[in-house]
Amino acid sequence: MEATQSEVAVDVRDLRMRYGDKDVLDGVSFTVKRGEVVTLLGPNGAGKTTTIEILEGFRLRSGGDVRVLDADPAHGDEAWRARTGVVLQSWRDHARWTPRQLLRLLGRYYLPYSTDEMVRPRDTEDLIRLVGLQDQADQKIRTLSGGQRRRLDVAVGIIGRPELLFLDEPTAGLDPHGKREFHELIHALVDLEDTTILLTTHDLAEAEKLADRILILAAGRIIADGSADALANEIEAKTEVRWTHKGKAHVHATSDATEYVRDLFRQHATGISNLEVRRASLEDTYIALVQKYESGYQTETPTALEEASR
């Protein structure tokens, strides 16, 4: 029984969250398989943070079934906690501590949860090297840059060798260089060991870069679920055809560009230039999807209430 269940790391069914008379999550369902990297993508206020905090066991849900590593996170015990990792956005906590001090101390909490197959915690020095903080390891944490701080956050998140790692808007506030470094770190983690990762972002490019699978959350529901390619196909992606005919520019949107272009040449044997066929980018798909949902299913957009952290 254990074996069949443990294929799925996260199983969410009909998750609901209500604040006052506002439904922030209105029947969210999805699963994350072991070893998958899944991104929860959505505009601000869509309920991403609420969702991930419920899965982390930091927030109680209003309704629905949630299983995270075969347990209900609302009642997850310390042994369950030891198998999950949370990458928090540090701000000014432990300002006087050094990264080495903090990692040593936090690592100790995992000692009783070490097994033969899963040695916990990770060695502090290995971890410092992995996140590239060798030069800052003995510096006070308050002197770290934003990017360095975020790498320390990741180190704290993975110190117990979690089977499942949560990251909520991990690159918010990072500059492009910091973002790239962060993405490389996540790739290294995924390659190194089979960690299941669930992260939220409102940055589409980031979702595309990191995830095996993207879930789009809008207006409190999952409105799309698939790989970046599958998503682009899922919505009847119109392709844009642009050309110039006798000095005049034309644009036409079609779902079958090949057929349209064939027709075009049949009609005008000569005189066509600057032909350009452009498939909808993932971004177009995303924006179209979100707009469709927010306008169609929701008369007013959800408030930014639970997304105050930006």
């Binding site: 943070t49 609420t50 905090e53 982390e56 930091f58 927030r59 310390e78 042994a79 906690r81 030891a82 990792g85 949370v86 928090l88 956005q89 540090s90 701000w91 000014r92 906590d93 432990h94 006087r96 501590w97 001090q101 101390l105 936090l106 100790r108 909490y109 995992y110 000692l111 009783p112 949860y113 704290v156 998140g157 117990g160 909520d168 639970e306 997304e307 105050a308 952290s309 930006r310």
Partner: protein
């Protein structure tokens, strides 16, 4: 059980590190020194005053009361401020994200807060011993008394600080919730002048709170037995002191874990984020 014990052990270590960092911090040290300067300065100005009906000088009599009130201030404001801050800056959330982390955090707080009493009191007491006469616990019995009064005080008062820290809505409110009531209590508890100067009912109010008893307890450890004649009932009232402080201890030990757990349960990334937003607005 072993995992619980382990978390407690990690917490003790956490407290040790915090304490060491605090002793190395210029900010904390200058706070202690400033407080000591104020207390000693006040006593020094009145060094020639002899308390009526005794041959004891004012500093000799007032020093133990001051130490008692400093203990109360430290044990209430320390955890209250620290908890409010750790809640806002995400320290507590970090603790929550590791197995046994909250228990470890609380153990760490207890170690840090009790431990920081030592430098806080020594920095007042040691220079005081050179400046003024007869300023040490009276004999071996006095030292033993000092020890148990302090321990009882910690158990009775530290939970109050934790409770205030768990309830206070934000760091900015800690003074309103903690410091002001403490100052009022210090004013009516016979710390700076004899409690007999107050109306009877106000004496009753003061005696309901630990501040009065800590002052009295410290006096009973430091002063010769004859000085008891200056107190209410002309006695150290050791029995009443133990009773009142024990009642506070029991109340605190029951309530503090409940309120602390309630507060910790509400911690999430978005609550820390909201506090960060709030703080950004304060700076502006």
């Amino acid at each position: 059980m072993t995992t619980t014990l382990h978390a407690i052990r990690v917490g003790l270590r956490r407290g040790g590190t915090e304490l060491m960092l605090s002793l190395k911090s210029t900010q904390d040290l200058s706070f202690y020194i400033l407080m000591a300067l104020i207390a000693l300065g006040y006593l020094y100005l009145r060094r020639d005053t002899i308390v009526e009906g005794t041959d004891l000088s004012f500093p000799t009599l007032a020093m133990p009361s001051l130490l008692g009130s400093l203990m109360v201030f430290g044990l209430v404001m320390g955890p209250a401020g620290q908890l409010a801050m750790d809640r806002e800056d995400g320290t507590l959330l970090r603790a929550k994200a590791v197995p046994g982390g909250i228990l470890g955090y609380v153990m760490g707080q207890i170690v840090t807060m009790s431990g920081s009493l030592v430098p806080m009191l020594l920095i007042v007491l040691l220079p005081g011993a050179f400046l003024f006469d007869d300023l040490m616990p009276s004999g071996g019995a006095g030292w033993i008394r000092l020890l148990w009064v302090m321990l009882l005080g910690i158990v009775a008062i530290l939970p109050i600080g934790i409770i205030i820290g768990s309830l206070v809505p934000s760091l900015q409110k800690v003074n309103t919730w903690g410091l002001f009531p403490m100052m009022i209590l210090a004013g009516i508890s016979g710390i700076f002048y004899p409690i007999q100067a107050l109306w009877g009912w106000l004496q009753g109010v003061a005696q309901a709170f630990p501040m009065y008893w800590m002052g009295l307890g410290m006096r009973s450890a430091f002063l010769p037995d004859e000085a008891a004649s200056l107190e209410l009932q002309e006695s150290w009232q050791t029995g009443q002191m133990i009773t009142v402080l024990s009642i506070w201890a029991i109340l605190g030990l029951v309530l503090a874990p409940i309120l602390l757990r309630r507060m910790a349960r509400r911690q999430s990334g978005s609550s820390v984020g909201a506090a960060r937003e709030q703080a950004a607005q304060w700076v502006r």
